[in-house]
């Protein structure tokens, strides 16, 4: 893993270029639009700073481009020209596969639900089963939090969480710094 300072640099560079591209395409945005654009650009910059070697970064880009037409537009703008082609292809295929997987998973769940509930009834009293259930529930929550986490197994989920937390920290650090600077400037 790279040192956080270099990650910060890369993130900042990408974010700024992304924001530049973003602003060049569209003038006079409302505050909500601006918020969205900033967040999106920050996310995409963070994802691309990780070089899309991780699942969450790919899923993040895919989700951002899936958001809507303007989201897709933004992603296109934020990402570079060459990398954009690559990303879009990946993202689109990823989304398609994701949808398929979701459907099949749902079917599987529905088919499994009835016997499982029946089976679980006598086990409720067991402490181990309770603990297991708790862990399972929390794992589900974590999966929903991490981008692309629905399709990870437990091991990769933990790994991705690790990576994601580091990246989020970098993002928060940089954004806080930038906010501080702009606050100071505005104050002046």
């Amino acid at each position: 893993m790279r040192p956080p300072s270099s990650l910060k640099q890369e993130f900042l560079k990408k974010w700024i270029t992304g924001l530049q591209r973003c602003s060049s395409s569209k003038r006079n945005m409302s505050i909500l639009e601006r918020t969205k654009a900033i967040k999106l650009s920050a996310d995409v910059a963070m994802a691309s700073a990780r070089n899309s070697t991780t699942c969450w970064s790919r899923a993040l880009i895919a989700n951002a481009s899936k958001d809507g037409s303007d989201g897709k537009h933004l992603v296109e703008q934020i990402l570079g020209l060459e990398s954009e082609r690559l990303m879009m292809k990946k993202a689109s295929t990823g989304a398609l596969v994701c949808n398929k997987r979701i459907r099949s998973k749902k079917i599987l769940k529905r088919s499994c639900r009835i016997p499982r509930t029946r089976k679980c009834v006598p086990q409720v009293a067991l402490a181990t089963s309770i603990a297991k259930r708790m862990v399972r529930k929390r794992t589900q929550v974590l999966k929903s939090l991490i981008p692309g986490g629905e399709f990870m197994n437990e091991v990769s989920l933990i790994e991705e969480t690790l990576d994601y937390i580091i990246s989020l920290r970098v993002q928060v650090d940089v954004m806080r710094g930038l906010a501080g600077v702009s606050e100071l400037v505005n104050h002046n």
Partner: protein, 389 residues
């Protein structure tokens, strides 16, 4: 070792109840008289009829009374000793009181005891053969046997191994009721049932198998993979524990996951909040990066990595300023950008400039300490950051 031998003194023999040929019965009786001290019961059983052509066979049965005085017999029918033409059906059922205690780890002394036993049985055998020759003198085969006493001793060594083996087997049978070593037992029993040619090297094998059998319960590919997976997860979890603040004291996976979830959520909310804040603070997303020295960063950062962010942000920020403020901020930036030697001038000029530009007095006080800390860019950066809040 010796107690076991002495215990043989109290051996009981049960040769009576076995039907034998009359001749051999007589021979047996003679033998019993000869060896009452040793108390070896050598009995020829029905197997003799099968192989009378080549070799006499003896079934030496060393029955020794156990704690309860009951005789423990081996179920093992026959053991082939090597590739010799000389078959012996030797069933040693040796059980000293110490065997009754059944210490599995005392294999070596027991083996020694067995060895001595087999040796004594061997010499007894030769005596028996000579006696047979004297008495009857009928068989050429017996002469052959006599000539092959050396070979016989070799066979005795093998017999020792077998005896050792059997001892183990019997021990296992004794312990079987309460032992947890059932896997070993079963392994050995299975080995015994398959009449293999016993070699000394194979005596060592049961331990090896035993280890494998013991581990065999958890060595099937599924549980092995499961264990590896769990180890991986726990390793990663430890990393996460270090990373997430306040997760060190929590034990248990559920609690840790809770903490991780909270942390991720808080970070995501922070990002949300900060982006809103940035959007509110800046009238447009346009962060002009024309005079942002993106290309110069790496060289600069190589020297002062900690201060990397501040000039860039300041440069970004100054785009929105009026010219006067811009100048002031630029001065500060120069101070931070340049090496410490020139920084003093820059800061001095900044502190000179700022009051002239009628900025707030608070700002001046914030900027004043710069001149004292000019040698350390890290400190500069810190002060700069402090000024933000």
């Amino acid at each position: 070792m010796f107690p076991s031998l002495h215990s043989l003194g109290s051996c009981t023999y049960n040769g009576m109840d076995l039907t034998v040929l009359e001749k051999q019965q007589a021979r047996l009786k003679w033998l019993q008289q000869q060896q009452q001290q040793q108390n070896y019961v050598v009995q020829n059983n029905a197997h003799v009829e099968l192989c009378t052509s080549s070799v006499p066979q003896f079934q030496g049965l060393l029955g020794s009374s156990l704690c309860g005085g009951q005789l423990v017999e081996l179920k093992m029918p026959e053991v082939y000793l090597g590739s010799d033409d000389f078959h012996k059906f030797v069933n040693f059922s040796v059980a000293g009181p110490e065997f009754g205690v059944s210490k599995m780890d005392l294999v070596m002394p027991e083996a020694a005891a067995d060895y001595s036993i087999s040796r004594t049985s061997g010499c007894q055998m030769t005596a028996f053969q000579t006696a047979v020759i004297k008495e009857e003198g009928e068989d050429v085969v017996l002469e052959k046997m006599e000539s092959t006493t050396g070979r016989e001793s070799f066979n005795k060594r093998k017999a020792k191994a077998v005896a050792d083996y059997k001892c183990k087997d019997k021990k296992i049978k004794e312990v079987e009721a309460e032992s947890e070593v059932k896997t070993k037992c079963s392994a050995e029993v299975s080995r015994n049932s398959s009449k293999e040619k016993s070699k000394a090297s194979e005596v060592q094998k049961p331990d090896y198998i035993h280890v494998r059998a013991r581990r065999g319960q958890a060595t099937d590919s599924h549980s092995l993979a499961e264990r590896a997976r769990r180890e991986k997860i726990s390793k990663k979890m430890k990393c996460l524990q270090d990373l997430v603040p306040g997760c060190n004291k929590i034990t248990g996976k559920a609690g840790m996951l809770d903490e991780i979830i909270n942390y991720v959520q808080s970070l995501q909310r922070q990002v949300e909040f900060l982006s809103t804040k940035l959007a509110a603070l800046n009238p447009s997303v346009e962060f002009n990066v024309d005079n942002l020295h993106v290309k110069e960063f790496p060289a600069y950062v190589a020297n002062f990595p900690a201060a990397a962010k501040s000039p860039a942000m300041a440069n970004l920020a100054c785009l929105q300023l009026n010219p006067l403020q811009k100048e002031a901020v630029n001065c500060i930036l120069d101070a931070t950008m340049h090496p410490p030697g020139t920084a003093t001038e820059g800061i001095a000029s900044a502190s000179m400039l700022i009051p002239e530009q009628a900025l707030g007095s608070s700002c001046v006080t914030q900027l004043q300490p710069f001149s004292t800390w000019n040698t350390d860019p890290q400190c500069l950066y810190n002060v700069y950051n402090m000024g933000f809040h």
